[in-house]
């Protein structure tokens, strides 16, 4: 992976440099969305597809675009992913395929949220970003961020206490 000069604007980077700059955080993001297992694949495949799109050349907010693309991908793969997870759990109930260092109740609590709520939780509690900032990143209204965050907090509170 190539070295990245962080003073350079995203728009001036090559695709490979852009990936090198954002991939670690995108994988963390994807981990909150889909769990540690498969987060790296999700990001790599999503970004590869984005780079292949004709419209990518015209995208200005490249970082936000990548986060949204990963979130969209997580949403779309959610249903088949959930089915796969259930199959895997049935097949190997004592051997979790997900990273063992995460407590199962934490994983379950986060996975009970809607993908968009998981994204908002990531930006709020990992990146410490404001509602307005998150709204801009995800292309939704601040009001939606607030209500989704409130709903997510409540669900997490119930699950984690």
């Amino acid at each position: 992976m190539s070295e990245v000069d962080h003073t350079v604007d995203d728009g001036e980077l090559s695709d490979a440099q852009l990936y090198a700059r954002h991939a670690p955080e995108l994988v963390r993001f994807a981990t909150v969305l889909v769990g540690p297992s498969g987060a790296d694949d999700l990001v790599a495949e999503t970004v590869a597809r984005v780079f292949a799109r004709a419209e990518w050349a015209g995208v200005r907010e490249r970082r936000a675009y990548l986060y949204r693309a990963v979130l969209n991908e997580a949403r779309q793969s959610g249903r088949s992913g959930a089915r796969r997870r259930r199959r895997e759990e049935r097949a190997a109930p004592t051997e979790r395929v997900d990273a063992p260092e995460v407590r199962p109740d934490v994983l379950a609590a986060v996975q009970a949220l809607e993908p968009r709520q998981r994204a908002i939780v990531f930006f709020t509690y990992w990146q410490d970003r404001t509602t307005v900032d998150i709204a801009a990143e995800l292309g939704i209204t601040a009001r939606t961020v607030q209500r989704e965050l409130a709903a997510a907090r409540r669900l997490l509170e119930e699950a984690l206490r």
């Binding site: 509690y125 990992w126 509170e157 206490r161």
Partner: protein, 764 residues
């Protein structure tokens, strides 16, 4: 910045960090293929999906042994340049041969950046109806979502609410789904088991497959595949450049079935377009514009339609997360189009979110120039009060936009409200009692009956038929009243279920359905078809609504059960022609139905368009022109015999509003006034003991009615009573001793056969 000092935030933060710490390192980026699109990738589907590439239209005809093989032939029925309308020839760009199109010009674009909609210069007068596909020479552009006489609104393929389905069930059904202008639309293929396919790949071009009943003709290019996230889902670059639209074609329908649809409202003869496949003759579908401010919010759909003069309001609530609610509302200010309005804060729901689930109105009624909503004002829990606190509340408006909130004493919630000839009746569960409230004006409320000790299983509901109001408690027991003030129990109710059906009440029980219009006589209806017996004991979630509608010159009961519309009377039941759509995310959730005063049939619902904890639905209204002349207006029935002295009439009146065995009426005023050339006699009554207030009996053109009531007040007889007549409005003013201060109270009666009510008390 979110306040994160709450202990729960620390808990969540720790959990998120634990999860993030387990993140794997990034993977090297896979090689990105930049191959030129193949002009004709093979999707072998029997006469279903057409692939279009290199400008050549190819019908795909294979369901055979070799899924990679394909038979391509020029399709002689597809002519991509010439369009024919019935009677005239129009150069409609891209119009497929064999189909009727009308050309259209783009007038403008919706300024709402979250939406992707344009307006075109063709409308209802040109045969344009909701649901028709719109295209240009390059391919599909979008779908008509709103129509006006001379213009229409097109939702483009990249609008987040865009969903369109084409194809033949069992073979291939393709669903096109817009996802906002920053994301490419997707096409999802539902391929039947008998059809063999090969995988779609980047560069393939997808066209609509048509089908015998499809709204889309076959062969309209949809877009080019740019990614294949799933075997049956592809992301597409739309074939038409949606940012540069100019001349368009609206596809009205196939040439060989030009005039089968009658949904053009002005009954134009001649060319008429096909409706969406799930709607038969006469029904119009209107997708309500997004009202939530968040395009993908989970909506419970529109639930209530309130009429006030020429204005109409649709209200729905949107639950989100576990515990919160907001209100979606749309106003038709008389122009015939629905526009979203923000009235949540006026109806007890915080517009910025955070209102606890259950706050806000649950029931609406209108009459006498105002609308009244009933429900609860719920405050969120605090540390001091860990439980949400609900207070019974009503909201009153005279314009459907500004609502005044009135919180009633006690803790609890109102469950229903109805307009009645003496004012308003509301029911609720307050302070652990099932209660009935009466108001002459929607603003001043008096509890008229409190029933403690009754099992609280669902709240009481209220039904009105003519001069009779019936309240059904949660345990099925009922009380009835002709005034809203004095109540008597209904012995052994024979109906398992009551449904408000317009101005009548439908009862359904083991003995079969029956209907009352006047509240006294019940007319038996034909036994319900097997499909409908479920409404006797509806399974949870079964949508049921009832109304009265004219069907030709007969008045019949309309029922909506399980997304199907039925009409019935004493002679039988027939299934009508509205079958609401089912999408892959589930059936349309029907939230309400009604018949407007002009006779228009209305169904409210949400069409699921996206999965979620609850499917995300598009709020939709289906309307149908009146099936006959406008239904009769509500006329309060003649309460009293036509004979008898004034004293006897006053006794009848007082017994109607008070305890039947106790009141003895006295005549306070007996006056005859000409109104619109008709002598109108007024009897102002109280009772001997002056305990039960005042009643006004109106006799006009041989019909005597209980017209206006004072409430639970002591009454000074004699010259304190004034009658004033202004046009068709007659005002009775009298002195009340309700609070020993001698308030002057007015009771206004509006003649005209519809509205009889009492106005608010005057200030001292």
């Amino acid at each position: 910045m979110t306040d994160l000092h709450d202990p729960i935030d620390d808990l969540i933060r720790d959990a998120v960090h634990e999860l993030v710490d387990a993140a794997p390192g990034p993977r090297p980026l896979p090689a990105i293929t930049t191959d030129a699109p193949r002009s004709l990738r093979r999707l072998a589907v029997a006469a279903a999906v057409l692939l279009v590439g290199g400008g050549v239209t190819a019908a795909v005809l294979l369901a055979g042994d070799d899924p990679g093989a394909i038979v391509t032939e020029p399709d002689p029925t597809v002519d991509t340049t010439v369009a024919t309308t019935v009677g005239t020839t129009v150069d409609a760009p891209g119009c497929p041969g064999g189909w009727v199109c009308v050309d259209a010009q783009v007038l403008g674009r919706d300024p709402d950046a979250t939406a992707s909609r344009i307006e075109i210069d063709r409308g209802e007068q040109d045969g344009v109806v909701v649901g028709l596909p719109v295209m240009n020479a390059d391919g599909l552009v979008g779908t008509i979502v709103t129509t006006f006489p001379t213009t229409a609104v097109v939702r483009l393929m990249d609008d987040p609410d865009y969903v369109a389905t084409s194809g033949s069930p069992g073979l291939v059904v393709e669903t096109i789904r817009g996802r906002g202008s920053d994301r490419l639309p997707t096409v999802e293929l539902d391929v039947g088991p008998a059809v063999s396919t090969t995988a779609l790949a980047v560069g393939d071009t997808i066209a609509s497959s048509g089908g015998p009943d499809a709204a889309f003709p076959a062969g309209i290019p949809i877009g080019r595949v740019v990614s294949v996230p799933d075997r049956n889902v592809v992301e597409i670059e739309p074939a038409a450049d949606l940012d540069r639209l100019d001349r368009l074609s609206v596809v009205l329908g196939p040439i060989d079935r030009p005039a089968t649809i009658t949904s053009v409202p002005d009954d134009e003869t001649g060319a008429a377009p096909p409706a969406p496949p799930w709607i038969d003759d006469g029904w119009r579908e209107v997708t309500l514009p997004d009202a939530s401010g968040a395009p993908s919010i989970t909506t419970d759909g529109p639930q209530h339609l309130i009429e006030l003069g020429s204005r109409r309001l649709i209200v729905g609530s949107t639950p989100y997360g576990c515990c919160f609610t907001s209100i979606d509302a749309w106003l038709d200010d008389g122009s015939g189009t629905w526009a979203p309005i923000q009235i949540g804060s006026a109806l007890g729901v915080d517009p910025n979110g955070g209102s606890i689930l259950g706050s806000g109105p649950v029931s609406f009624a209108s009459g006498d120039g105002i609308a009244v909503a009933a429900g609860a004002e719920v405050t969120a829990p605090t540390e001091a009060d860990p439980d949400p606190i609900a207070r019974p509340a009503v909201w009153v408006t005279d314009d459907l936009v500004s609502w005044d909130e009135i919180v009633l004493p006690g803790l609890g919630r109102l469950t229903a409200v109805a307009h009645f000839h003496t004012g308003w009746i509301a029911t609720g569960i307050v302070d652990e009692e099932q209660r009935i409230y009466h108001s002459p004006d929607g603003r001043t409320w008096t509890m008229t009956l409190g029933a403690s000790g009754i099992a609280i299983a669902g709240g009481p509901d209220v039904f009105v038929a003519g001069p009779t109001v019936v309240v059904q408690y949660g345990d099925g027991s009922r009380v009835t009243s002709d005034s809203g003030l004095g109540w008597s129990e209904v012995d052994d109710p024979v109906d398992a279920v009551l449904l408000q059906a317009g101005r009548g009440v439908l009862g359904v029980g083991p003995a079969g359905p029956r209907l009352t219009i006047d509240g006294a006589t019940w007319e038996p209806l034909a036994p319900l078809p097997d499909d409908l017996v479920g409404i006797v004991d509806p399974p949870p979630g079964t949508p049921v609504g009832a109304a009265l509608t004219m069907d030709g010159d007969r008045e019949r009961v309309a029922l909506l059960v399980d997304r199907t519309w039925w009409l019935g009377d004493a002679d039988g039941w027939s299934r009508s022609d509205l079958e609401l759509p089912q999408t892959e995310w589930g059936p349309t959730e029907v939230k309400g139905m009604t018949v407007l005063t002009d006779g228009t049939l209305v169904v409210l619902g949400a069409v699921p368009v996206e999965p979620g904890n609850k499917p995300i639905g598009t709020a939709t209204v289906w309307t149908h022109e009146p099936l006959g002349p406008p239904p009769p207006t509500t006329v309060v029935a003649d309460l009293f015999g036509t004979s008898g002295t004034a004293e006897q009439q006053c006794t009848d009146a007082m017994r109607a509003i008070a305890r039947p065995d106790e009141a003895v009426g006295t005549v306070l005023e007996d006056r005859t006034t000409p109104i619109d050339g008709v002598d109108t006699r007024w009897l102002v009554c109280s009772d001997e003991s002056a305990q039960y207030g005042v009643a006004v009996v109106v006799e006009r053109a041989g019909v005597r009615r209980l017209a206006a009531l004072g409430l639970g007040t002591l009454f000074h007889a004699g010259d304190d009573v004034d009658l004033a007549v202004d046009g068709d409005r007659t005002t009775v003013t009298y002195r009340s001793l309700v609070n020993e201060s001698g308030n002057r109270t007015t009771a206004t009666t509006v003649d005209g056969g519809r509205t009889w009510t009492v106005r608010r008390p005057l200030e001292p």
